[in-house]
Symmetry: C4
């Protein structure tokens, strides 16, 4: 399913839900709860597979209102429970859980959702293998089909170019917008001295992209050590054709979660 | 036991099973079920030892009919159960489980079984350590006796040479045949921008070869970093003599599987 | 909270505890036990996250008496229990558990607490990723905000400069003082052919610093392999601003401890 | 305790046991069983810590008869049970479990025990980090005190120098003797295209040496990548002084074994 189509489909669902003369919440609640439950699983998978550690976060756009997104309140992803999931408007102001402390960097999510109607889910991580790439001028390139989206190019955001000396964090709407601008229409942007932002048209897809972004970075470093300048990356057209759903990865990663 | 002898032995068993005036299925069912059960274990081992992740697959030729092979229906190897195992003919058409979705790349298996009567089992993996080698012109070489079969040479299959721009997958009989041709009479072929195909005369052996292909690749990269051009690989004759059964590895890996 | 302020606060608590006409021990015992319990957790986390193996240790200054510190008796950090925690004076003489065998290198802790009133907790580890840096003249540099404190500089202590040929261990007050002198006002010092000493204003913070010191070292090696001399480290001013509490890491690591 | 002294002590115990008019077996059985139980634990630790995989073995000289040693029958170390432990004479002929299949490479152990009266325990492993060193002319050097014994020098055994083209295995007394000769009075010898042999004056010590031999190899590769030719290794005299018992490692590793 293509991004535009998925978005349109979800938008239609949302509009229907709003327009139809239904009892309040009854029809939308199941979809809302389902996406919250999946978001909890996404948090746990990212931690269990080493894409995030105690820090990092993952969000999903509301399936019933494209001007809202869900994100846990501030805390370690591995420990997120459904009750921690907060609904935000696109200015990253909490609509639910208003007394809870939010991630100071939630503007990464809000501003990307504003700028990119096709994006339905986003991850921010300090994924280790990409940090060295974010610190050099060596561009990430797609090593294999699982990293297909890297063929779009992975721009590097340098916070210093827009805000001089900072604590490196995306703590304002302005910084979020600047990051979204660097991201452009790509799947991922590296953040110099910090990590990465990854987006996709679904939660499963963004988890897969974040995971394989990291794996691909390791493979590329090894290939460059092995072959020097003579590394054959996926051709940009191959990369486009090789689009993945990562659905089997999701099933696999979910099955590996520690049982409580 | 040599490949030819093993194959002959299994073939004889199969012919006997067909020729003898026995009650239908009674004599062949145990062997069939046993190999299916082993194939489930092989799936779990490959996932648990990191040779495959959510993607990749392993097949085994039918012990009672050399024109058939067993392969799970599409899904993550770690989650494969006996009921998922499907019997295919060598054109990779399902004979059982006909309503299930098969791996789109099952032609890797079918076409290799056609081209290589000695092959009784095959693995397709995106094994991480070999991807950098598949992206360069550096040939894999045997670092130690556990990687003995690498002494035969490990050809690299570039799908672009036979099919121009693709999604990198072996989704047709033609592509399967081209891969089998590149594989030739070897134990393994790398697939540029994709992974590897590994074959052997038994299921235990193919699991061992896939595992140690990956380990050997890592060791070779390290050795080249350490010694530059001065790395001593196994002599081709040493490699031949050093053939392994990997039976102890199988026992070890099986004992490490998570208990349900 | 700044080091000085924290220290002043704890000192005040301690003085009050001593000065006030309270029933002996009643008011101070809870704080004392709480810090001992946290120290046990810190030991387990460091072992579980691979910062220490069978060797290495972590201490915390007494919350009720700045001239005392707590450190387990000699043993593997993973196996430390509350009963193993010993109270030492700053000359590293045991005040409790006097019949137990102490770490021969406890002078690392005692002498640093003497020299650095701001330090409330210390780790000594053979953290693997830093050993290569301790063996070369390549200085550690901050790769990302999680390694912010590396921006202060990480001096390398060479025991040979102060004591000629030794067994490499800090087994005397004199060697402890020499190490503390090399450490100066920094967060960490590497120890040539040995490991590192890491300090902080709290137990949670020192565990985080030790962990990310190790991670940062690995990232830096990778970045240097990737970019050669063209690696962009955090600007010293960025590093200062990027100070972390690592509280979410602590929660995450604690949740990952094996349950007995 | 020095090797010679330990050996003398054990020898004396053995002689006493033989000479004293005691009921047969009664006094010696406990020591014998204790060492067998420890050998089982050593097998499990080596597998659990990744020093061996499905292959590799560890032996210990009999505490009651220096002309005997204990070694499991052929099998994966992780799966060894007390009943698998076989007593061998120094010609590597089984004295117990005579109907069981022994490791074909047991001559590594027997011939080393013959040549080295000080050796009380031996490990043979395909420890991964040392294989690249065994394939190059780069000598292993001690990176830190935990690898102190590497300061003695780690010779590399090339089976081709004594036996031309082989399957790389030490399957005869002659090859065992040649390996023992290369080992000389050192703690470890690498085996080209194969792995390593490690010896020590006790079972705990040999497990520690095998483990840290492997770790040190990884650290040295990293240091050489970082510092090129400018790596500071332990001074030979430092290495001598830095002798370890690894007792805390043993406790730690034992605590990490999976519970049945």
């Amino acid at each position: 399913m293509k991004p535009r189509r998925l978005f349109g489909c979800l938008l239609a669902t949302a509009l229907l839900a709003v327009a139809a003369p239904v009892s309040p919440q009854a029809p939308v609640a199941p979809a809302r709860q389902a996406v919250i439950d999946e978001l909890v699983v996404a948090n746990h998978i990212l931690a269990n597979e080493g894409v995030v550690d105690g820090y990092g976060h993952v969000s999903v756009r509301s399936p019933v209102n494209p001007n809202r997104y869900f994100l846990a309140r501030a805390g370690a992803p591995a420990l997120v429970a459904a009750a921690d999931i907060t609904e935000y408007d696109l200015d990253s102001k909490p609509v639910t859980n208003t007394s809870a402390t939010g991630y100071t960097e939630r503007f990464i999510h809000g501003e990307i959702y504003k700028a990119r109607p096709d994006v339905m889910a986003a991850v921010h991580c300090h994924c280790l293998e990409v940090i060295p790439f974010a610190a050099t001028s060596v561009p990430l390139r797609p090593m294999y089909h699982m990293g297909y989206f890297i063929g779009e190019g992975v721009p590097v955001f340098d916070i210093r170019r827009v805000a001089s000396i900072t604590d490196m964090l995306i703590e304002t709407p302005e910084l979020g917008r600047a990051l979204a601008q660097t991201l452009g229409n790509k799947s991922a942007a590296l953040m110099r001295g910090h990590g990465a932002a990854v987006v996709a048209t679904s939660l499963h897809l963004v988890v897969g992209k974040a995971y394989y972004l990291n794996v691909n970075a390791r493979l590329q470093l090894q290939a460059m050590q092995l072959g020097g300048g003579n590394v054959t990356y996926l051709d940009p057209e191959e990369a486009k054709k090789a689009a993945q759903t990562y659905e089997r990865s999701w099933d696999f990663w979910k099955s590996r979660l520690p049982r409580n």
